[in-house]
């Protein structure tokens, strides 16, 4: 093995060690916070941030503030969910999947990497589950 290759492999090993050290430091320092959806206005703001012009007429927030479902005047439904220290959102469509289990509504939008997300919606779960079924046309 040439010296240049050994040097490059050592450099790569050092980089990987440094990455893991920084990751562990970020955890140790408690970075990332614990973001939650605070209230209706916050949920509306997140939806507007995700899709400019999306104005929610109806919404329901997960009881722990981890996500929300919002519907606009055109009947479009948006799922907002926590993603690390931020939120990510998707409009739901006919490819979306919803499963109701008492107060818990699990939603997947068909994107494997966006993943399924379970909201604790309390008494609202059934109402929203019914309305989501209509998205399937």
């Amino acid at each position: 093995m040439s010296e240049a290759l050994i040097a490059q492999l050592l450099q790569l090993g050092g980089s990987i060690m440094a990455i893991l050290a920084l990751w562990l430091l970020a955890i140790k320092l408690g970075l990332g916070g614990d973001v939650r959806i605070r209230d209706d206005d916050h949920a509306r703001q997140l939806a507007e941030d995700a899709l400019h012009g999306f104005t929610a007429e109806e919404l329901v927030i997960d009881r722990a503030g981890m996500g929300a479902l919002l519907r606009d005047a055109a009947g479009r439904v948006m799922l907002v969910r926590r993603h690390g220290g931020q939120f990510a959102a998707r409009l739901l469509d006919s490819h979306s999947f919803a499963r109701l289990d008492r107060n818990f509504l699990t939603i997947a939008n068909g994107e494997k990497h966006f993943g399924a997300f379970t909201l604790d919606l309390g008494d609202n779960a059934q109402v929203w589950a019914s309305s989501l079924r209509r998205l399937g046309g």
């Binding site: 920084l22 993603h83 690390g84 990510a88």
Partner: protein, 303 residues
């Protein structure tokens, strides 16, 4: 090559310890001031993208070096190693970077390679290291070929490019508000580059500069940071995943799916048109988002 440049000299190698130190300092700042500015999994993804990018660079660097050498053999002028050549090369390399970067946002083929630099919803020094693995596939090296054809020595071009990259590290931060006015007027700064990473409609596709913000002012893409606009970072459709490989390849996969599904006469357009373009107009581009925003602004404040 002059003797003062060691063989295989890459300034980035010497800068990496400084990058790590500054990230640690920024993390300590974040702990005191705003813990949400960092997210451990996001940081891990960003740093892994940076390391993968150096591996990709090592694998493809030889070809790019050879291509620049070839172009230099067909040069227009014999430019030596004088001080003014370094200065001119650095300026022109930054101009080439501006156009590369603008195309990286306006042509989906280039965007597919560049998007992972923007897919974090955070903006901190680790975001700066979120570099591409697929720049070679996107052929982004073509933007440096004119420098070699003009006659700048290959090593000079690559060293100037490396210093350009090093300069771009420090301004990926929210820890610095504004620099002195004279500096903000000429140089790229944290404030200018926050605008570039924002998804707010008013900020979309603005401030492409690398080192000198003057290019954006000259070519009409400059947007100052507004005091009353809360910045949202990331991409228009947030990726919503920390999966490393998905971060690298998701837009390439998107192109492949769109090209496969599109009618024949539109297939090529899914590669060269702007991100978000669709043949049936069913998706948003930065232009349509900006237009919708501007329309709403004019309705809410007709004066």
């Amino acid at each position: 090559m002059p003797e003062f440049i060691p063989p295989n000299f890459n300034p980035v190698d010497y800068a990496v310890p400084g990058f790590i130190l500054l990230i640690i300092i920024e993390m300590l700042w974040a702990r005191r001031r705003a813990p949400e500015k960092y997210e451990p999994r996001d940081t891990l993804t960003s740093l892994a993208l940076g390391t993968g990018s150096t591996i990709a660079g090592a694998l493809t660097g030889g070809f790019i070096f050879a291509l620049l050498i070839w172009a230099h053999q067909h040069r227009l002028f014999d430019i030596g190693w004088s001080w003014w050549a370094w200065t001119l090369c650095f300026m022109l390399d930054d101009l080439a970077y501006y156009w590369f970067h603008r195309m990286a946002h306006r042509v989906r083929w280039f965007w597919a390679s560049h998007v992972n630099h923007h897919s974090s919803q955070h903006y901190n020094l680790s975001t700066a290291l979120r570099q591409t693995w697929t720049g070679f596939i996107a052929a982004s090296f073509i933007f440096r070929l004119p420098l070699a054809l003009i006659g700048f020595p290959t090593a000079m071009i690559l060293i100037c490019g490396a210093f350009n990259l090093i300069y771009q590290f420090w301004f990926h931060t929210e820890a610095i508000d504004r620099m002195p006015r004279w500096f903000e007027a000429v140089m790229n700064t944290p404030s200018h580059h926050r605008v570039h990473h924002a998804t707010n409609p008013v900020y979309l596709d603005r401030n492409y500069a690398g080192v000198f913000i003057i290019w954006d002012k000259i070519f009409g893409t400059f947007q100052p940071e507004l005091g009353n606009e809360r910045i949202r970072y990331g991409i228009v459709k947030q990726i919503g995943s920390f999966n490393l490989l998905w971060s690298v390849f998701h837009e390439w996969i998107g192109i492949a799916q769109d090209v496969r599904a599109a009618p024949w006469r539109h297939k090529f357009a899914y590669m060269w048109r702007e991100p978000g373009w669709s043949h049936d107009g069913s998706r948003d581009t930065s232009d349509t988002i900006r237009a919708r925003w501007a329309e709403r602004q004019s309705v809410s404040s007709p004066d």
